[in-house]
Each structure stands twice: as C-alpha cells, then as structure tokens.
Subunit: 286 residues, 2 copies
DNA sequence: ATACGATTTGTAATTTAATTACATTAATGT
DNA sequence: ACATTAATGTAATTAAATTACAAATCGTAT
C-alpha cells in the first residue's frame, strides 16, 4: 500500500546497488517523480537495468509503475504514515505526521465506508421524531458536534454528557425516536447501557462504531468507520475525525433529502446568527 | 491545481477531437493513469498526436506529465472538490464529495500551517498553570474536544459552553494561565468579549482563528488554519476538522515536550479507564 | 588457494512509448 | 468560391524502458 514504507522495509533484501537506488529514492521521493531511469541511474551511480530490477523487487511492474505509485503516495501525503512519532521529532515533524495520519485515515474511511448503512441512517433520521446523540470521552465531542449540526434543522436534537440525563432520555425513547451512539471501540460500558435502554424502549438505535462490538449488538444500524490503527495509542485521534466527517456526510444527505425547503431554512438560520458576529467587511471593524 | 477541474473548465476551449479526448478522460480518470497515448487515442477515436496536443492545451508538459498530475489528483481524492453538491446527487455522491472536500482542506491546512505559531503555542501550554478552551457553535465541539485531550495531562483544563461560566473563568485569569479560543471566522462577538477579558486580566490568549480578524486582535498568538471555502456554506465543516487536527498536533507536541514522564502518565490513564470498557478479546464478551 | 556455482551488475540490442515534422483536410471569413 | 487559418492525421524521429546476454563479483566447498 505505502510504497515509501515498503522500500524502507525491503531495504535489507536489496543488493548493494539496489540499496544505493533505495537510498536516493528515500532521500528525496519527490524528485523521483520527474525523473527517468537514465537520470536516476546516474544519480545513484548504477546502470539503468538496475533501476528496473529495483522496481521489480519492490513489487512494482516497472519503473513507470513505481513512479506512479510514488506520485500517488506523496499526493496523499501518507509517506510519513506508520512512521511513529519519535522523542526527538521537531514540532514540524510531529505536525506533519499527525496530519499525514489523519489524511490517510480519511482516505481509508472513505474507501471502506458502508454506503448502504449511511443511506439507511439518513432515511431513519429524515423520518425521526427526535434525535439523540450520545458518546463518551473523545466521542463526546463527536456527539456534541453532531447535535450542533442537527440543531440547525427542525427535528429536535438532544445531546448531553451527563450519564443520568442520557439514561432518562434513553428510557423516554419512543418508536420513531432515533438514538445515535458514537464509540470508536464499541466497548464503552455506559454507552452500551444507554443503547440497550433505548433499544428496549423502541427507539431506533444507530451506532457509529466498530462492527461486531458489544455496542453493535444493540444497534439497528451500524455504520463502521474502519480506520487504520491510530498513530498515538493513548488517545483516539484519526478515528474521531473520521466519525465527524461521516456525520458531515450524513448531515449533508439529510439536508438534501429535505430539498429546497431546507435550504431556505438554513439560509434563515444563518441570517438569524448574523447579529452575533462582527461583519466580514474589514472596513466595518475599526 | 486540480487537473480534473481544469479539464472541465477548459472544455469550451477545446477543438472537436480534443473534446472527445476530454470526454474519455472525465468519464474515467482512473483508467487514464494506466494508459498509453496509443490506447487512449484508440478509445477516443483520434490520432496519437491529438492526445499530446490535448495535454499541452490543458497546460501540461506532455502526456506523461498529464498522467502524473491525474494520478496525484486522484490519490488526493480531490477530483470532486469544488464540485458543489447537487440536488440530484445520490448518497454515495454526497459522501464522496464531503470526504473529498475535507481531505483537500486538510492537505491545504497542512501546507499553509504556521509552524512557528504552533511551536509558540506548545511552549506556552507547557508552561501554563491552567488552560481554558472556548468556542461557540461548531467551534464549541472543537473546544470540547481539546479540553478532553488535555484533561489527560496534569495541567488543569477548563471547558464550558456557558457564556457566564466562560466570563467568570476569563475574569479570573492570571498571568501564567492560557486561554485558547476557537473560531473559524474570528468574528463571534461573545468570544471576542471573552478573549478581551482574559487578555486584560493577564492571561496568555491564543486564537485558533483567522488572521486579522477581530478576535485576532486580542490574541498573543494566532494560529490560522487557512482552509479553502467550505463546500456547504451554511455550516462550517472542513474548517473545524482542520482545527481539530491542528489540536491533535499541538497535543502530540505537548506530550512530547514533557517526555517519558508523560508517556507513563498516559499509560496509567489508559489503564485506569480499562474498567469502563468491555475487554477487546471477543471470547470475553459473550 | 582455486575452481565452481550462484548472484549481481553492466553493455548493447530491442521494444515500446511519446513527440515532432510535415502533409492533408476541414473550417471560417472575405 | 477562394484564401487563409486551424485542426487532424501519417510517418519519422527521438526518448524511455525493458530485455537478452556477457562480464564481473561473491561465496562456498574442495
């Protein structure tokens, strides 16, 4: 998948001259993209066929294929991915790595997303009498964010980070109500409890969570965001970003399903918020 | 910048046969990547030099250059970007467009980020006696999320969405306290008020916001996330995601600045949370 | 040590791809 | 309708990548 990473990994398998080529490649992958076998051979001080052999050994069809993969990798900005953050990294390094990891996570999530589940979720939400958003820890801000988005529409949207308030809301669920639960692992006990209560009381329970998790058992619909391993293992980073973008997509689909009517409403909401902002025109703010 | 978009825009400038080529390209950009002039010429039913001329007119150096740009574009997933969401888009289309827009926003943010400001922010936070996170609307969840992250460390981290609570916190700021304000536009009146109060009381005010905005005036440090225009103009989407990733980077830098000691603490926090989760091993959760 | 085999590497030839030069055709305006 | 310009294709040229094969290097066993 990740060509730069692959080159790095296969480094020990390479012969002396192939190794030289690898060094040149790793030293400045960007440059390779606009290079021919001839010039690369020259910079690495090897012969042209060695370049070709190098590409083959790495697992590419040939040099053009290698260049292409490299180009795509770099465009994705994922050349850094999987390279763990080190203690001696500069701030710039860390920033770059975090961004890279997130970008790659989004790319994966985008590919792996279950479009049917997303569609089903939107349909549910459009029909919903009331929507509640629940999540704990890092997922709490995702739930918060989701509520924020949906508050712009007319369907009542609930969010609270108080477990008792959530419990009450879950118990008071009726058929036609939708409960959206956020959890990366799907193993948060309190959230499972909420989901179960809501389920038992007839609400439609939707989980933005891992497939086959304990939480998934209480969900009518599961939208899983299959995000590769987080860079930082101590707190979820990329996964919750993916969840948020997923919610953005769901919100957009929701708004679309409501058609023109909704557009006008959004415009009205925006106009209504105008007074709480300073005007955009720079001449107006002293 | 965006090759697919460029092709679409230049469509009227093209000659009859070049247009045919453009059609083939737009119809399946993916396919082009693994194609030669010869085969593309055949599918478009034109001659080989026409392919070359097409590439030149679009602004590329030649066919290989065109292929490369296309490959990078598609890898970035930004081929859709700038293509507004239409009323007749399917759920899959909308999802794809939202993801694409976010991915492209992240890529831009990553490039444009002010690394010095990020570094300065991290240094401030490391020295901070207390950190408060404030934001309204969509930025509220960003502030919430940030607080969540920093709560894992030992520096007191405050978040509230209650304006009065925020005001009190701002007024009670002392030198050595850091106040982090989130706002995409930097024109939210209430937030400016908070920032001003905090500033007057001697806190270090950091704004994750637009440069030269009213809010920026009250900030000691401004980290701007220059994100291109949001796809959906009715609510900020990509911009707040960029802010969150930026916070991730800052948190990572913060943790790193604290060194080993912090790693152990994070591990301990994680262990402490264990009881609130079901075990990961599937055999355990019947 | 040295001779054998295997592996690596380079030279030269071949194939394939891309571009250029030029001729032909089509289109447009007078 | 004719002249002029633009568009297109054919054939030639150039450039790039790959293959085939020979030379060199390296390790190993005698």
């Amino acid at each position: 998948m990740n060509i730069v990473q692959t080159v790095r990994e296969r480094l020990p398998d390479l012969s002396k001259n192939e190794y030289k080529v690898a060094q040149v490649v790793l030293n400045d992958p960007e440059a390779i993209i606009h290079t021919s076998t001839a010039t690369l051979a020259q910079t690495a001080a090897v012969s042209e066929p060695t370049i070709n052999r190098f590409c083959r050994r790495i697992g590419c069809k040939g040099f053009p294929d290698f260049k292409l993969q490299l180009a795509q990798q770099l465009a994705k900005g994922t050349s850094y991915v999987n390279s763990q953050i080190n203690d001696d990294d500069s701030v710039a390094d860390v920033t770059d790595k975090i961004f890279a990891a997130t970008q790659s996570a989004l790319a994966t999530a985008r590919e792996k997303i279950d479009r049917d589940a997303v569609e089903a979720t939107i349909n549910c939400l459009v029909e919903a009498r009331k929507i509640s958003f629940f999540g704990y820890g890092a997922s709490a801000s995702v739930a918060h964010d989701a509520q924020n988005k949906f508050a712009r529409f007319t369907t009542p949207a609930i969010y609270s980070d108080d477990h008792l308030v959530q419990k009450v809301a879950a118990i008071n669920s009726l058929p036609g109500d939708v409960v959206l639960c956020f959890s990366h692992t799907g193993r948060t006990k309190m959230l499972c409890e909420i989901a179960q209560l809501a389920h038992e009381n007839g609400a439609t329970v939707i989980g933005i969570t891992a497939k086959d998790s304990p939480l998934a058992k209480f969900c009518h619909i599961v939208v899983s965001t299959e995000v590769p391993e987080d860079t930082d293992h101590y707190m979820p980073m990329a996964s919750r970003i993916a969840q948020m973008v997923l919610i953005d997509a769901i919100v957009a689909g929701f708004a679309l399903a409501h058609g023109d009517d909704m557009k006008q409403r959004l415009a009205r909401v925006k106009a209504g918020l105008k007074d709480s902002r300073y005007p955009a025109n720079p001449s107006n703010n002293k």
